[in-house]
Point group: C2
Chain length 345, copies 2
């Protein structure tokens, strides 16, 4: 049995404690300054995370980050960073302050980092920023945290340049309800994990935008065509970001896109766009106060996908769907896409 | 402007007449002996196909097959076979009787042909059976007929070993609402078009089978994991059937699977299986009298996917999801799948 340290007691960090503890490992679940209430709730007898409503198995020890010491890292076989993307810099600081022996560190945090002309994933930007990190492991795939915490069948992928490390960690974590694949394409998994939020906005918009005028109700051809186009463009973007195309056609890409279109904040923004509303209208109404990660990705991509001409859509050659999402976000304009540009002619 | 002859006035054959006629072509829409009522309805002024409820454009001439003459074929630039799979032998007979000059023939009919040890697609089995066929064109992609007939945005792929032929036909057919890609992998498109019905049974079963026990309602991780596994296994089966893996990750594969899971007879059978019922129970209740094409594909695959051992699941090495669907169909047994066998270990 191993000790696993999870930094971040949000829904995903906490959910990962469930298969780890079910496999008999000791899990130290460390709340950030945002997780105080959740840690307090989980420390009560029979306590549950407020957003997961699943009791934690014995073997999970929830603590606040103020209690965290270098010895906790020293005892851990694997460290998992479970913070959300605004917390990644804080997590890097913790690793630099407290991690004294090089260790493999797994990340559920997703995002693209824009740095003047470059766009990179955490697989590329984080390792050089952490002094004593040994291996970067990216976690991707279709995983809604509360479903994993409730032990529903869930598939995910662990990605590390050294697949032996990913395999070792996956062996510790896999259960009958948590099925793990392994890949060496950490950059591709990280790229897809960010891109799927962005494309989910567009696919969800298509679901709402086109209705059956004669019979009422939703239609399926426009959504399926958009889902397919999202997969195509995600594969090309994944490749340009340094990952592999086939990663987009597996768990971290189409698998996670499928689950993300099914619900969540990116999907809700998409439905608002599909109703003909703008991003600012949705963000000041049903999404007020929420973080919609696909918006950040749209802004990062807007400067990075080269414009084919000075004109507007389809200005980004080869990316008609991404262009439509970027334009809706950056211009705060109605979403316009009807599969135009996806065929041969 | 060209003349296009569509043999079969079911929903798909009739729907294809809409973009063709919108592009100014003359369309001869020929009903089979099953289409008498539909042809009669469409011949009335302002007539509509009973299952499409969209008026046909001027330029579509609906006739009964008894009126069909060799001259009709002679005048056509392209022939489209729009019959369902039980009608494919009849359609081949018509082509042999009436097609006097070799022509390109496009097929929307989908199925796998089992011939002792071999399993083949229509792309392989039909051309040798037709004396004067020139090019086999397979039509695939996410296309619900009545949505196309109602001019909702739809993406499809035209496949022909000679891509110039597919491109010529696609240029005749593409409209602002019907976006066409072209590929040379006709075998792959035909394989995926049959396989997606089969896999849609399983993905739909997963949607129904796993519910959120604490909050009620559908879950998403199991369905997304199953969708992804379907894509993986479809790619491998496509390859073994003589097509290309990447065809499964595009319109004819994941695109069409996406639309098929959203509704239709294969999906309804899947939901019944997800409720713990058997195929025979569903076929004698809500699906009585219906043809569920995925059942035929399951039976064709059951002999063809090699069993890894004499035991039961996961007896078909590398195909845990296909095996679960095959077992439910061929044993008339409850559907059992929980993503087991999809991970590394």
């Amino acid at each position: 049995m191993a000790r696993i340290l999870i930094l971040g007691a949000g829904v995903m960090g906490t959910a990962l404690a469930v298969p780890a503890a079910d496999n008999g490992h000791d899990v130290l679940l460390v709340g950030t300054h945002l997780d105080g209430a959740a840690i307090a709730a989980m420390r009560r007898p029979g306590g549950v995370h407020p957003k997961l409503d699943a009791p934690l198995p014995a073997g999970v020890d929830p603590i606040d980050f103020q209690e965290l010491r270098p010895a906790h890292f020293e005892e851990a076989a694997f460290v998992v960073i479970g913070v959300s993307s605004p917390g990644i810099a804080w997590a890097v600081t913790q690793l630099n302050d407290l991690l004294e022996t090089p260790k493999p560190v797994a990340f559920v945090t997703k995002g693209l980092v824009r740095d003047s002309e470059n766009l990179t994933t955490y697989a590329q930007s984080v390792p050089p920023a952490v002094g004593r990190m040994r291996d970067f492991i990216g976690i991707g795939g279709p995983c809604i945290a509360r479903e994993l915490a409730n032990r529903l069948p869930t598939a995910s992928v662990y990605a590390c340049a050294d697949t032996k490390v990913a395999t070792t960690f996956a062996r510790l974590m896999q259960t009958t309800y948590y099925r793990l694949a392994v890949t060496d394409d950490a950059t591709g998994v990280e790229a897809c994990a960010a891109l799927k939020n962005f494309f989910a906005i567009g696919v969800s918009a298509m679901q709402t935008r086109f209705i059956d005028a004669r019979r009422g109700g939703a239609t399926r051809n426009p959504t399926a065509g958009a889902f397919n186009q999202a997969a195509r463009e995600m594969a090309t973007l994944c490749d340009r970001l340094g990952g592999r195309r086939d990663t987009a056609f597996d768990l971290a890409g189409i698998g996670d896109l499928h689950v993300t279109v099914g619900g969540g904040r990116n999907s809700r923004l998409g439905h608002a766009l599909g109703q003909g509303r703008t991003v600012s209208a949705a963000m000041s109404a049903e999404l007020v106060g929420e973080t919609v990660e696909g918006i950040d990705t749209a802004q990062a991509l807007s400067a990075w996908i080269p414009a084919a001409s000075a004109g507007k859509a389809p200005q980004r050659q080869g990316f008609p769907f991404a262009s439509a999402i970027i334009d809706a976000v950056t211009d705060d304009a109605p979403f316009r896409f009807d599969l135009s540009g996806t065929g041969l002619f």
